[in-house]
């Protein structure tokens, strides 16, 4: 197997909590706590988990929108975390992001054309202004908008259309990897499907790799090659999409999957309900983070020892003392 496009090892991000100017006790939120995964060329990794589990932080650490506290990120053979300013600028061409909120992610004071063309100017793409305009027109057409929309402002578009503008902006620098940070969560279901199809088409055409962050397993199922499930800053299970859905190993994954409604009348499903709330990430439970809500836990092992990721079948890893 060739080296993956993106390889993340033991990525960690802690945010210090401010408890006041004069207080001495330093607490930290472990937003991302030793996350490892690979994304191959042209592949999609879906990342799912409840809100606050560190999915978005992971994505932003990889892009260095947030500086990670530890671990390594290797993209296309380059150590992302060791890059200098110039190298980082070059990296900005290869990795892009699509944001969740299409109303906040476009500058309200700029025309669509200017938004999409901006990155081209920065990275010196396109011969001159006319060439860039032509490229913008092509990009807009590619994402299902009209070239005439160039002169309009973001507020004139609907949520789905704005998300297409966001996609066009990300594509402008011809990246290899796009982090889709809840890219469709804010959209209506029908519009979600359109945008997902667009992303899929673009992937087939341009060989893009996606890191697809979502809190909804049914959205991720359709687009992902592999899926990572996160809980409280850790990856608890990672597997090929089909395998994960057919044979979930981690009790948390099971619970998530059983929460997907099945649109079939009369069919009853055994739902695994999770008790309680997600623990406070400032003081996470010891051992396996999930043990406080786990239906199959075996104390005291689960409460004291952190389960390592171990393979349970080909390409399927799970972090659970009792499975795998």
């Amino acid at each position: 197997m060739t080296a993956p496009l993106l390889s993340v090892r033991d990525l960690t991000k802690t945010f210090p909590t401010r408890s006041g100017m004069f207080s001495r006790n330093k607490l930290a939120v472990h937003a991302v706590d030793g996350v490892s995964f690979d994304i191959g060329q042209g592949q999609t990794l879906g990342v799912v988990g409840e809100s606050g589990c560190g999915k978005s932080t992971t994505g932003r650490c990889i892009l260095r929108l947030i500086e990670p506290s530890g671990g390594s990120v290797v993209f296309d053979g380059k150590d992302v975390l060791a890059l200098d300013a110039k190298g980082q600028q070059a990296l900005r061409r290869d990795m892009q992001i699509i944001f969740q909120d299409p109303f906040a992610s476009l500058n309200p004071r700029m025309t669509v054309g200017a938004i999409v063309a901006e990155a081209m100017t920065i990275h010196g793409l396109g011969a001159d202004a006319a060439d860039r305009r032509a490229r913008v027109a092509t990009l807009l057409a590619r994402v299902g908008l009209k070239p005439e929309h160039m002169g309009r402002y973001p507020h004139e578009f609907s949520g789905g259309q704005r998300q297409r503008i966001g996609i066009a902006r990300a594509l402008a620098v011809e990246p290899k990897l796009i982090v889709c940070d809840e890219a469709v969560s804010a959209l209506d279901v029908s519009v979600q499907a359109q945008v997902l199809n667009l992303l899929k088409d673009l992937q087939d055409e341009l060989g893009l790799a996606y890191m697809f962050i979502a809190h909804d397993l049914s959205v991720v199922e359709n687009v992902s090659d592999r899926i990572a499930v996160m809980y409280l800053g850790r990856v608890v299970e990672i597997a090929d999409a089909a395998d994960l859905y057919a044979r979930p190993q981690h009790p948390y994954t099971e619970a998530l999957l059983s929460a997907i409604p099945i649109p079939e009348p009369g069919r009853r499903k055994t739902r695994r309900k999770l008790e309680g709330e997600m623990p406070n990430p400032i003081t996470p439970p010891g051992g396996c983070h999930f043990h406080t809500r786990c239906p199959i836990r075996k104390l005291p092992l689960c409460a004291t020892e952190r389960p390592e990721m171990k393979p349970c079948s080909a390409g399927h890893m799970v972090a659970c003392h009792l499975r795998g």
């Binding site: 944001f99 901006e118 299902g144």
Partner: protein, 292 residues
């Protein structure tokens, strides 16, 4: 894939909404009309009046308003008050507007940098703002004006230096909330430079509050100039300003009250008008307050 038609083809310029809201603010409209009239009068008036502002008519000293062609009367030297008032208006309005431009530029710059950089850079800049605010500005202006040679340029700079903090605070708060918006992150992700993000991406989005603060600053600057000139440290005679006209009127309050009333009313009119405009702009540009 088929293209999707635009859901609501509306006029291109979102300001139309702001303009509508502004037009509904009656006091603000009155303010605009008054300021426009005052400015036109100050620019064109002196040519239309029969007397030059420096022409001394000793036979017509202390003429009350509406004496012959001295529509607003004359001063102790027999100079036409109307002519002097309009010439003074040129000085006072110009000082006010220039001070506003300077202080807005300075304030916006400090505010954007402090708001975007945050951390110790932002903290130290904002503590500097606090330090400036802690000075009683009128005394600071007086002290500076007494030290430095009081030319109109110097007065403008001094006023600007004592009134940029308001803008800086407003802009800092606005930028701090804007920098968390995703379009700023998208800009960083595209590799835009820090100054590009600060001044090209964020600043245009903070224009609403800046314009409002700038308008109110004009009013403050006119008032401040009037104070200083009234106390004798500002614009020096024979160059007239509304403030030093008031200064000259002090001794004759009982015998020739129009000497004080005329420039006094003009200052009040100018300052209130700018304040009304500021209020109207706030209502029009601040989308969060009131119905559309």
């Amino acid at each position: 894939m088929s293209t999707i038609p635009l859901s609501e083809p509306r006029s291109r310029w979102w300001h139309s909404r702001a303009v509508r809201r502004f037009a509904r603010h009656r006091l603000a409209l009155i303010g605009v009309v008054m300021i426009t009239a005052l400015t036109l009068a100050c620019v064109a008036g002196p040519w239309l009046l029969p007397y030059d502002q420096l022409y001394i008519d000793l036979r017509a000293r202390f003429a009350p308003p509406m004496t012959g062609q001295h529509y607003l009367g004359t001063d102790p030297l027999g100079r036409d008050i109307a002519a002097r008032l309009l010439m003074a208006g040129r000085t006072s309005l110009l000082v006010g507007v220039c001070a506003m431009v300077l202080s807005t530029l300075l304030g916006a710059f400090v505010g954007v940098v402090a708001g975007y950089r945050g951390g110790w850079v932002g903290a130290s800049l904002m503590r500097m703002v606090d330090a400036f605010l802690a000075f009683p500005s009128i005394f600071l202006v007086l002290a500076l004006a007494a030290l430095l040679k009081p030319s109109p340029t110097m007065i403008t700079i001094i006023i600007a230096l004592t009134s940029w903090m308001e803008v800086a605070r407003i802009v800092e708060a606005e930028v701090r909330s804007l920098r968390e918006r995703e379009f700023v992150q998208a800009g960083r992700m595209l590799g835009l430079s820090r100054s590009h993000i600060m001044f090209r991406e964020i600043l245009p989005n903070a224009m609403g509050p800046i314009i409002v603060a700038a308008t109110l600053t004009v009013a403050r600057a006119i008032l401040l100039e009037a104070y200083v000139s009234f106390l004798g440290y500002g614009i020096q005679p024979p160059l007239p300003s509304w403030g030093n006209m008031l200064n000259g009127a002090q001794q004759y309050l009982a015998s020739a009250p129009w000497l004080a009333i005329v420039p006094g009313i003009t200052i009040t009119m100018a300052v209130t008008s700018f304040n009304f405009i500021g209020d109207g702009l706030r209502d029009a540009l601040d989308v969060r307050s009131g119905p559309g």
